[in-house]
């Protein structure tokens, strides 16, 4: 309950800012009309649209003694060409444990360039314990070479700074068979003892997934996923019977609606 309230406290100003933005846009339009008596109201309005993408919904079988893992990584957006509400979520559950990582982000997204969105909002990590709330800013888009890029910086409720870099690339082998390499790197500016985070690299994840797009919406895949934890995170992982390094054979489905 307390968490919810805190989350809302962070979300509400965000929505407020969004509403203000829209209000000022409307104001600008009405000013235009005022200055331009000949102008009619536009016949076409903004198109609102949205999508849900679960890039990863998978089960990983640990190789070489690594634990089995269920993992998800998804996002959804809704809005106009320029202004969108963007939700991101990712997490993983190791077999026989409770959720090891589970986070959700609520962002406002604004198109700032041909290929780039600026995003800002909040992130809530339900796992690991203790749960944390972060402020988020970032950019998401398409880098030269057709790399999907997501750069995010976080500041926790305690003032801890961290960052995340995600890169992926869709290599079309045929029109429907797509090989997707991806990398995710998490960095921290300082040690956060209770989360097992050291300053510097906290973890690196790399994957290679081969999907078959029966449709753009439904694409099952297989692949491998490699995770490496550093510093205290690695030590904690080992202390808890885990490993600093793990490799899984993954199979799952990509959903895009």
């Amino acid at each position: 309950m307390r968490r919810t309230t805190r989350g809302a406290a962070l979300v509400l100003p965000l929505l407020g800012a969004l509403a203000a933005g829209q209000a000022s846009a409307q104001q600008a339009v009405s000013q235009n009309l005022a200055h331009d008596p000949g102008a009619h109201a536009p016949a076409s309005h903004e198109v609102y649209f949205g999508a849900v993408l679960f890039d990863r919904l998978e089960w990983g079988v640990g190789l070489d003694g690594s634990p089995n893992v269920a993992r998800w990584d998804g996002q959804a957006w809704y809005g106009t060409d320029y202004d969108k509400i963007w939700i991101k979520t990712q997490g993983e559950v190791e077999r026989g444990r409770r959720a090891e990582n589970a986070e959700v982000q609520l962002l406002y997204s604004r198109l700032i360039g041909y290929y780039w969105d600026f995003q800002a909002g909040v992130r809530y990590d339900a796992r690991p314990r203790p749960d944390r709330t972060y402020g988020v800013i970032g950019v998401q888009g398409l880098a030269p070479g057709l790399f999907e890029v997501d750069l995010q910086a976080f500041v926790s409720e305690r003032g801890d700074l961290s960052a995340r870099v995600e890169l992926s690339y869709d290599l079309y082998i045929t029109q429907r068979l797509v090989l997707q390499p991806n990398v995710e790197v998490n960095l921290a500016a300082q040690r956060v003892r209770e989360l097992g985070v050291n300053s510097g690299f906290s973890d690196v994840e790399a994957g290679l997934r081969l999907r078959y797009e029966f449709t753009r919406e439904v694409a099952p895949y297989v692949g491998v996923n490699y995770t490496r934890r550093f510093g205290e995170a690695a030590r904690y992982a080992r202390d808890e019977g885990g490993r600093a390094e793990s490799v899984e054979f993954v199979s799952g489905i990509r959903l895009f609606f």
Binding site: D36, A39, H40, G50, D81, Y114, Y115, P144, Y172, R216
Partner: protein, 772 residues
């Protein structure tokens, strides 16, 4: 009182498209119908119907329960009243495409004077006089209703005899049908602009290309080309945004085989209308020559062709003379080669369709389509208040900026931009203006940019499709066409004295000229496969790496060694090899010999050095060598109500958008955020279209004619829709002689819906300000 032109109250009543052959009897033609006491009245009811095109029923929008909507047949000079009843659950509208009428009758909600659409359940009365004749069409201007079936043909019989004769008259209305909800199509494009593209470049296609490449150089070029497109985050295979279409002729699938019946020896008029929401078609009738007699409803000097490309919303009337009782196939292949619309010309109805040919090679976008050297920009945009590009609407151009030239800073060029200086340029033949040849000094300041890797890549012909003509079908056909007596038909049937100028005689010249072209057998020509050509070092071409050597007024033509000089520029551009090459320096239109006021963009830019913009009029349908492909330049208006004069000002109309996010715009502002373009009644403006995107945009301006400056002077054609190719710059003159609010938009439906639209206001009072 209610009367419908040729009404058939059944779905897909293809019969509606056949206009009774003797309808244009000579006596009827001689009698203008001006002076009717009462306007004729028509009733149209718009409603949802279930339509089954592909095998599964879908919701469509019909007029009088017909998809396409019934033929409306009017007479020039009469006044008509059209009652449109909206039985949908949403607002609707009908726009009379290409008709010159009062703004309030034009039917665009929120733009036409006083018109806000027809609310659900209401009936709206249109009433307007018909001041023109020809082939037009009508369609909804609300949302995506046009894609759902709300389109129909509109034919206006002339008050006076047309300068050509024919025995039979058919409408060939092309369209594209999707089982998907059109709103869903937009959503799909917005969440993934490549959603419908299953012709992407893949690792498999790369392996194929590499295996086929003749040598290491070619392989290197292929790799470099791939990397370059990736670097630019663009997709060269993005020819058509939407796939999954079934293409129709008069509402019929190829299997349903709409048949235009003829008797051997008859002359048949085919009124082609492209009502496709998102589809360009390449049209041909294998074995038959076509003579274009009208373009967009207006008479043109008859011109014999083998093929033409028709952009959405365009109409072309052609005459054909099928002989021998054969069944001929009218083929309209979509530009992206996803399918055919097809119909038959046969001596009887009910024959099965002829088997469809295999598809021609899919076009690939080239660096020329990317543009990058558009000439001076920053001109008057015609808005009352200054307007700037919104972020995210202009593709980053660094890697495409071949010449890297900022023409606006060039001495002598600044005058080109402002309307005020135009007056002093009257009568100048710009092609002879020494001051225009600024190729040498211009790039000096930023010469380093020219060496960018992307600057060389477009010259790799080995990656260009369709360059190897040796295995193309129909190589021998063209010569037999040239000897076909078809031409006599058209010229013989022209009543003597009714054609102003030497129209029909130029026609004969064209035939002769073509004969020389069509006799060529390219299949034996060494070097047409450029990938194997040694010494194709294009770096010596004007502006392609050594700009200081540029001699833009005399562009060198590397393939001139193989190609005998074509007799006329427009025929050369019709040759299939030309369009791609035209981007590289020899695309400069030969405007020098024609109208002295032809300060067209292409000719103005031809002398800037650097990479010459692509020939905006070249059309590459993938036709076999020697085939005559219609271009705007081949269209010569038989009459033009407007005097030839210099424009009062030049308006910049940059076609922009974000292909990654799938929204489109004019001058970097989507319709929802854009100001109207304001013109003064009576002025002549030159719209300088600059297509900065990689798609073709058929731009339609309501209410007034557009006159593309194709270099035919007083005979420049009058069109209602101008297809602007990717990366090209082209000038279109508009006489602002119709007061009121007019829609101005791309006729690719989803481009319009996602922002490529403006309101053009033609006002009596002078403009108060501009940002020119």
């Amino acid at each position: 009182m209610a009367e419908l032109s040729l009404p058939r109250r059944s779905m897909l009543a293809a019969g509606i498209a056949a206009i009774a052959a003797p309808a244009l009897s000579r006596s009827a033609l001689a009698q203008p119908v001006i002076g009717r006491m009462m306007p004729r009245e028509f009733n149209l009811a718009i409603e949802h119907v279930s339509l089954n095109i592909t095998g599964s029923p879908r919701s469509a929008i019909a007029v009088n329960r017909s998809v396409p909507a019934p033929v409306l047949r009017f007479r020039e000079g009469e006044e008509v009243v059209i009652n449109v009843a909206n039985r949908l659950r949403e607002s609707t509208s009908i726009h009379w495409h290409g008709l010159i009428l009062p703004s309030g009758q034009d039917g665009v909600p929120g733009i036409s004077d006083g018109f806000q659409g027809i609310a659900a359940g209401e009936t709206h009365q249109y009433r307007f006089p018909l001041v023109q004749a020809g082939t037009y069409w009508y369609h909804s201007h609300s949302g995506t209703q046009e894609q759902a079936g709300l389109y129909g043909p509109l034919v206006i019989d002339p008050a006076r005899a047309e300068p050509f004769g024919f025995d039979r008259d058919y409408i060939i209305q092309l369209s594209d049908w999707t089982d998907e909800n059109p709103h869903r199509v937009i959503q799909n494009l917005k969440r993934d602009a490549g959603y419908y593209n299953y012709n992407k470049r893949t690792a498999a296609s790369l392996a194929n290309e590499l295996a086929r490449a003749p040598n290491a150089q070619a392989r290197e070029a292929i790799i470099r080309d791939r990397m370059m497109w990736g670097e630019m985050r663009m997709d060269p295979t993005d020819i058509e945004d939407v796939t999954g279409y079934t293409f129709l002729v008069n509402g019929r699938t190829p299997e349903q085989n709409f048949t235009a019946a003829y008797r051997p020896g008859e002359t048949v008029r085919l009124r082609f209308i492209n009502s496709g929401a998102m589809s360009h078609f390449d049209v041909r009738i294998p074995g038959l020559e076509m003579t274009v007699v009208q373009a967009h409803g207006n008479n043109v000097q008859p011109v014999a062709i083998d093929e033409f490309r028709i952009a959405p919303a365009e109409t072309f009337d052609v005459l054909v003379r099928p002989t021998g009782g054969r069944q001929f196939q009218i083929l309209a292949e979509s530009m992206g080669r996803q399918g055919f619309a097809s119909a038959s010309l046969a001596t009887q109805n009910g024959l099965p369709m002829l088997p469809l040919p295999s598809h021609r090679e899919r076009p690939l976008l080239t660096m020329a389509d990317m543009g990058g050297n558009y000439g001076p920009r920053g001109l008057d945009r015609g808005t009352l208040r200054p307007e700037t590009d919104r972020p995210g609407q202009i593709a980053p151009m660094e890697s495409m900026d071949m010449g890297g030239m900022d023409h606006s800073g060039m001495p002598g060029m600044s005058g080109m931009g402002s309307g005020g200086a135009q007056g002093g340029m009257q009568g100048m033949d710009h092609s002879n203006m020494p001051g225009m040849n600024r190729g040498a000094p211009a790039p000096a300041g930023r010469g380093g940019r020219v060496q960018a890797p992307s600057g060389t890549a477009p010259m790799d012909h080995s990656t260009m499709p369709g360059m190897d003509h040796s295995n193309m079908p129909g190589m021998g056909r063209s010569s037999s066409l040239a000897s076909d007596p078809m031409f006599r038909l058209a010229s013989a049937s022209i009543p003597s004295g009714s054609v102003p100028g030497p129209g029909n005689f130029t026609l004969a010249q064209a035939t002769r000229g073509q004969g020389g072209m069509s006799g060529m057998d390219h299949s034996n020509m060494p070097g047409m496969d450029h990938s194997t050509m040694p010494g194709m070092d294009h770096s010596g071409m004007p502006g392609m790496g050594q700009p200081q050597q540029a001699r833009p007024t005399q562009p060198r033509r590397p393939q001139g060694q193989q190609n005998p000089p074509a007799p006329r520029r427009d025929q050369r551009s019709a040759a299939p090899a030309a369009p791609d090459h035209s981007a590289m320096g020899h695309g400069a239109p030969g405007t020098g010999q024609v109208g002295q006021v032809d300060t067209s963009a292409a000719s103005a830019h031809a002398g800037h050095g650097g990479m010459t913009p692509p020939d905006p009029f070249a059309v590459n349908t993938g036709a076999p060598p020697g085939a005559r492909v219609l271009t705007y330049r081949m269209l010569r208006a038989l009459s033009n109500p407007y005097p030839v004069r210099e424009p009062d000002r030049i308006l910049e109309v940059r076609l922009t958008g974000n292909m990654e996010r799938y929204f489109w715009a004019i001058n970097g502002n989507r319709f929802s955020e854009a100001q109207p373009i304001v013109l003064t009644l009576g002025e002549r403006v030159r719209m300088r279209f600059i297509n900065e995107t990689m798609m073709s945009h058929p731009m339609h301006l309501h209410g007034v004619w557009m006159q593309p400056q194709v270099g035919n002077g007083a005979q420049n054609p009058l069109l209602h829709t101008i297809s602007v190719k990717p990366g090209s710059t082209l000038d279109v003159d508009v006489e602002a002689d119709a007061e009121g609010g007019w829609a101005f938009h791309c006729h690719m439906l989803f481009h319009m819906e996602t922002g490529m639209m403006r309101k053009v206001e033609i006002r009596r009072q002078p403009r108060v300000a501009s940002n020119g």
